[in-house]
């Protein structure tokens, strides 16, 4: 598989990358585990690849005293999966990273690339939306924070401005809340939900739930409200998540129809919430 003619530039630092993106037809190349395929299939036209995969500014997993964690955009899935620091604060994310695609992709693919690419099959977009992460970007005009709920704008698109590069993501502390991550695995996945559930005195005190496998990973406020204040029983969770498929507009493909994906939304939502309840009970 051969790419169309393209130029390549590997800047020494982030500022150099931002400057290079000023070139017409320039595009960021990080781990390349999605972009290179697209270029091989000649499904996108790019004139200059700006390789950010070695930039030190994008590396590192740093846990703050309050339990929040900053993950550099250039951190690979494998580095996430094997990070003891991350395991201490977001164990589920480590686990999800460890099961992402396969070993070779994990060794190369990056957290930031996964988010920016926003392929509906990607696993991290619903995670950052569910936990309410903050994404950090730097561009010609300086630094900017973007809420996860505003970052994803559609099928393969995000809200970065031209010239902006995602530098990292801050995940808030879980503070005893449990996380559930559930999917219907067809191909990568046909439906996916991430839940963050807090339990206080035997009652669900907080609920954050996002669906993935959608052009925009979507929080489900109505379901969240129905969960909060209820006892964490299977019956309550099933009832509360029954409407999870309402109003979503998944894309059908060779793997599953939109109808099936809509029907799977309550299933993965329920399972993710139940898992989060269990996880919270175990670690909380």
């Amino acid at each position: 598989m051969l790419l169309a003619p393209v130029d390549y530039y590997r800047p020494d630092d982030l500022q150099g990358a931002i400057s290079a993106l000023d070139t017409p037809g320039a595009r960021v190349l990080a781990g390349g585990q999605s972009l290179i395929s697209i270029l091989k299939l000649r499904a996108a036209s790019v004139d200059l690849l700006v390789d950010i995969s070695r930039l030190e500014e994008l590396r590192g997993i740093d846990v703050a005293d309050d339990g929040s964690v900053h993950i550099g955009a250039g951190v690979t899935y494998d580095e996430m999966a094997t990070s003891g620091a991350l395991a201490g604060v977001h164990a589920k994310l480590c686990h999800v990273a460890a099961e992402t695609v396969d070993a070779q992709v994990r060794n190369r693919g990056t957290f930031g690339g996964n988010l920016c690419h926003n392929d509906p099959i990607n696993n991290f977009p619903p995670y950052v939306v569910a936990v309410g992460a903050t994404l950090h970007a730097r561009g010609p005009d300086g630094d900017r924070d973007i809420g996860a709920d505003e970052f994803f704008t559609g099928y393969f698109t995000n809200s970065l401005e031209p010239g902006e590069i995602l530098t990292g993501v801050t995940l808030p502390a879980l503070a005893g809340r449990g996380v559930g991550f559930q999917e219907v695995e067809i191909g990568e996945a046909a439906a996916r939900a991430v839940a963050v559930i807090g339990i206080d005195n035997g009652t669900i005190s907080s609920a954050q739930l996002a669906l993935g496998c959608l052009p925009v990973p979507t929080r489900l406020p109505a379901v969240e409200q129905a969960l909060v204040g209820s006892d964490p029983t299977a019956g309550n969770v099933t009832a509360a998540t029954a409407t999870a498929g309402e109003g979503i507009d998944p894309v059908g493909d060779a793997d599953a129809s939109p109808e099936y994906r809509i029907a799977m939304a309550p299933v993965v939502a329920k399972r993710a919430v139940m898992e989060a309840i269990e996880e919270g009970g175990r670690h909380g």
Partner: protein, 164 residues
């Protein structure tokens, strides 16, 4: 260099212990560099989308799919291919011997990539369970063996059943 008129990059990399410096086309994939420029046969091409793993090589000690990276991105890196597995004298490594003893290959096309993934897995986890082996090689599609004997051959290393 096989792409006249193209944008070019100078790269220096170490492949199977040997330093090489070349001028490559910016668009050239690492797999094509290894095969067409260096004449290696270990990494192979089996798909367009990074799913089959036939092109798996070790890149700075970790496995990657060499069809999912530009040659230019490998500048400065240390790369190993399946050619590096046997001893310089030509003796099969313990892992290769286990593949032979357990009939873990048939047509042999995916084998180089599977071996690289297996070696990486065993470096991290010297006695993997069958389930861990399957997870470790799920990025390598083999159409001949149904994976049964591959899992057996890799597991045998951990169980110390092989005498090379």
């Amino acid at each position: 260099m096989a792409d006249p008129g193209a944008s070019i990059q100078e790269i220096e990399i170490t492949v199977n212990g040997e330093a090489v410096a070349r001028t490559v086309s910016s668009r050239q994939l690492l797999i094509h560099f290894l095969r067409d420029e260096l004449g290696l046969r270990g990494p192979k091409i089996g798909c367009d989308t990074g799913h089959c793993g036939a092109c798996t090589v070790s890149f700075g000690g970790k496995t990657i799919k060499s069809c999912m990276m530009l040659a230019a991105q490998a500048d400065g890196a240390e790369i190993e291919t399946a050619e590096a597995l046997a001893s310089p004298g030509g003796d099969l490594s313990e892992l290769q011997e286990s593949f032979r003893a357990n009939h873990a290959l048939q047509c042999g096309y995916c084998t180089s990539g599977v071996l690289m993934s297996a070696r990486f897995l065993l470096e991290r986890n010297p006695s993997p369970s069958d389930e861990e082996v399957r997870e470790g090689i799920r990025g390598n599609i083999c159409r001949c063996t149904g994976y049964v004997n591959i899992v057996k051959a890799i597991g045998a290393i951990g169980r110390e059943e092989v005498s090379a």
